[in-house]
């Protein structure tokens, strides 16, 4: 993983939005209750591993690969920002 310039930043809770391309993380919780319903149904369950798979040409939306099944989800960056990652 690339070194982070400011150590303070790594302490702040990260969301899926902060993943770099190809990087994986584990979902810890969903921040936005209303959006969470849709995300849960689509497979963004706490404890699942998530990998940032690609970005649309203009940077948004993005695609995520969830779990170890080959399941790809596409969503907007502001939606990805509500999926928090475990440290």
């Amino acid at each position: 993983m690339p070194a982070r310039p400011t150590p303070a930043k790594s302490v702040a809770p990260r969301s899926v939005k902060d993943l770099s391309l190809g990087e994986s993380g584990t979902i810890c919780c969903l921040k936005d209750p209303e959006m969470a319903l849709k995300l849960l149904e689509m497979g963004c369950i706490p404890g699942t591993t998530v990998r940032l798979n690609s970005r649309a040409p203009l940077g948004c939306p993005i695609t995520l690969v969830l779990g170890d099944e080959d399941y790809t989800l596409s969503l907007r960056v502001n939606e990805a920002a509500t999926i928090m990652l475990k440290e």
Partner: protein, 727 residues
């Protein structure tokens, strides 16, 4: 019991005798009603097509405006079943109009439409997420069968499912399948022909605190289980069949018990996943094979590339336009000539006002509908292939950011593209947009896309005023003008969307959370069935309207107030006798004069003052009025008005238009007039079917009326500007 024998199917898995033990064969002769439910991309349509083939029909769900697909399946030689295909969904908590159809069907046990049992399709390679919907449906207490689809894909991914064990855990029969290849369909049919009981396993029990409220709802509505009562608490505002009193009762209860729908639903979903994880632990093993990168990902690197992605997308669009406009021309001409041939055959042999109504009214209208069948078929072939392969999801993905700037959504791309063929199916395809505002804006602007019915108008007028020159050696000036008109329509659509985005105050969250399906080869059978079905819908639904309007127009153009038409005819014949015209020329003049004095002609005269500033006269006025119902009518009306006989082809229409003189003896169709008319046809809402579709989809007159006023206003102002500037 004979039916309890083990049924082996070609995947090698077996349906155990135990599951069928409780079942008994249905009585022969009864038509079982079976609903087909599953996640999007779980192979539901494939299974539906396998079960029903071409025995399908599209109708409306009672009370709602969403299309309902049903089909009849011959299960065994003695048993037939009616299969209801339901929209793909991830859960029983609906988020789009499409998904609401499912709950509407399943909430009311007393409804005549209520299914005897449900077949739930699940993607075996994605079993965890697919089982969420299954557990919800099972908890509703309907007899169910699980069609575990795509077993082959699961195996390739190293997912091994112990079907017997899973069957015990889930308490319903499971049929391992590969619906694309038809594997497992026979076994499924046998299970479907049995009388099944409700699932024996419960997957989720609502929180203790909620039980008092749930029980009260349950007893008030006399419901058979708690989970259904919980859904009433969630959805009471959207349940159609509840009375105002009943809604008020549930609302009161939810407030009294402090029911937090969002939190409850989140908790339920997590609890269900926990349960599913437990079940899968004992029944599914995943051997992680060190696999190469999925081919889907490698394809995506090209197909959603920031340069190649857009280039390929525009290439696909270009190919589609080419197919619709160039290739479809040959069958269209054949149909057109075929109808004309039948028409002239009847005319040559039979006479009388009823025959005129049949030929000039009904057959002419029918020809106008049938002529578009090749284009519609071609367009839906393209769209079906793009959907089937999974490419459409990528297009939506690439376009979302751009469309959002204009108040649209990545998912609006599909309706906008379809709008180039016909706005009616395009407006229907906007249903998948969950967000109300995005969806309304999409429906509102889609008719501005230049549909195929505008082509005849464009072709005739462009040929009249744009010289057939080559520019830069390769581009044809007329082609550029045509393309300009399409572009004008497209720009009008997106800028109208932008204006609406700012006007509509309603703040609603716009989601864009969408599964990215893996690339697959299209199933040609599905493509074929889609084409047949769409063409059938188009011919029957649009056809009825167009034929009705053609008949009305024929009446209006054939009869006039008092005996003014007869007098006009006498006048023409008298003056024609003096000028020594041929019989054919006399007939043409008579037709023209009769039209001028008919009801339609009178209307033309009445509207003339309004359209004069646009450069139009009463003759164009008639064409505008008649083509208000459908643009296709324009060329036909013009050819009658300019006294062209029925057997005229396009070039004579052009000659007549070119020969038309204004009051000063100058050519009537100056570039100013022609472009003014073209621009009018780009913008004006001249299509009853589209208005009917908007009415159907928005459930009210507000949107279609606004759409008509807006588009006609835009057309009027733009034509005015064009004519006054170019004059």
């Amino acid at each position: 019991m004979a039916g309890a024998a083990t049924i082996t199917n070609p995947t090698g898995a077996a349906v155990s005798a135990a599951v069928l033990e409780a079942a008994s064969p249905r009585l022969p002769g009864t038509l079982t009603r079976i609903a087909l439910i599953g996640n999007p991309n779980s192979g539901k349509s494939s299974l539906f097509n396998q079960l029903t083939g071409l025995n399908q029909k599209v109708g409306n769900f009672p009370g709602v405006t969403v299309d309902r697909k049903t089909g009849v399946s011959q299960l065994t030689p003695q048993h037939r079943a009616e299969i209801i295909d339901l929209p793909g969904t991830y859960s029983l908590y609906p988020k789009s109009l499409d998904e609401k159809v499912i709950t509407d069907l399943l909430y009311d046990r007393t409804s005549k439409q209520y299914p005897d049992f449900v077949v739930i399709t699940a993607d075996a390679s994605n079993i965890r997420r697919n089982l969420l919907l299954f557990t919800q449906l099972a908890d509703l207490g309907l007899p169910a069968v699980l069609a575990l689809n795509m077993m082959d894909v699961a195996e390739q991914h190293g997912v091994k499912i112990d079907v017997e064990a899973l069957q015990r855990e889930l308490g319903v029969p499971i049929i391992p399948m590969n619906a694309r290849k038809g594997i497992g369909v026979a076994a499924l049919k046998i299970v479907m022909s049995q009388e099944l009981g409700a699932p024996s396993v419960h997957f989720y029990d609502p929180d203790e605190d909620l039980l008092p409220m749930i029980r009260q709802i349950r007893y008030y509505f006399n419901l058979h289980n708690d989970y259904l009562a919980l859904h009433y608490a969630h959805q009471f505002r959207q349940i159609n069949f509840l009375t105002a009193d009943e809604r008020a009762y549930v609302e009161e209860l939810t407030q009294k018990y402090g029911f937090d729908a969002t939190a409850q639903q989140a908790q339920e979903t997590i609890a269900r996943y926990a349960r599913i994880n437990d079940i899968l632990l004992n029944t599914v093993s995943v051997t992680r094979t060190e696999r190469n990168e999925p081919y889907s990902n490698r394809l995506d690197r090209v197909l959603t590339h920031k340069v190649w992605g857009y280039l390929i997308f525009f290439g696909v669009l270009f190919l589609m336009f080419q197919a619709i406009f160039a290739w479809a021309q040959y069958p269209m001409d054949l149909i057109d000539q075929g109808v004309a041939w039948v028409n002239s055959l009847i005319k040559a042999n039979l006479h009388g006002p009823l025959i005129d109504l049949l030929t000039d009214g009904v057959l002419a209208g029918l020809g106008g509908v049938l002529m578009f069948v090749p284009q519609i078929a071609m367009l839906f072939a393209f769209i079906a292939v793009l959907e089937e392969t999974g490419y459409m999801a990528r297009v939506t993905f690439m376009m979302d950011r751009i469309m959002r700037k204009f108040g649209l959504n990545g998912k609006s791309v599909v309706p906008l593209i379809s709008g180039v063929a016909c706005a009616v199916p395009a407006i229907m395809s906007a249903r998948t947009i969950e967000n109300w505002k995005d969806r309304m804006i999409t429906i509102f602007v889609t008719p501005l896309m230049s549909c195929s019915a505008r082509i005849p108008v464009y072709t005739v007028l462009i040929a009249l005023v744009v010289p057939d020159h080559k520019v830069l050696g390769i581009f044809n000036l007329q082609g550029i003008a045509l393309m300009g008109l399409y572009l004008l329509g497209f720009l009008a659509a997106i800028f109208s969307a932008l204006a609406l985005k700012l006007l509509l105050r309603r703040k609603e969250r716009s989601y864009f959370i969408m599964e990215f399906p893996v690339y697959r080869w299209p199933r040609w059978k599905n493509v074929g069935i889609t084409i047949v079905e769409k063409v059938k819908t188009f011919v029957l639904q649009a056809g009825k309207v167009i034929v009705a309007i053609s008949v009305i127009l024929w009446v209006l153009a054939s009869y006039g107030p008092g005996n003014s038409m007869a007098r006009a005819e006498q006048r023409v014949r008298a003056s024609a006798a003096q000028q020594g015209l041929t019989a054919k020329e006399v007939d043409m003049q008579v037709a023209s004069q009769r039209l001028e004095n008919s009801y339609a002609g009178t209307f033309g005269r009445t509207v003339e003052p309004v359209i004069r500033p646009l450069g139009f006269d009463w003759k164009i006025g008639i064409a505008l009025i008649t083509s208000f119902a459908a643009r296709e009518v324009f060329v036909g009306t013009i050819s009658t008005i300019y006294s062209v006989g029925q057997d005229a082809d396009m070039s004579t229409v052009q000659q007549k238009l070119a020969a038309e003189k204004d009051e000063n003896g100058q050519p009537f169709f100056t570039p100013a007039r022609a472009f003014s008319l073209l621009v009018f046809y780009v913008f004006a809402m001249q299509c009853m079917s589209t208005l009917a579709a908007t009415y159907r989809e928005t459930k009210g007159w507000r949107w279609p009326i606004m759409q008509m006023l807006y588009m006609t206003g835009l057309a009027y102002v733009s034509s005015l500007v064009v004519f006054q500037l170019m004059k």
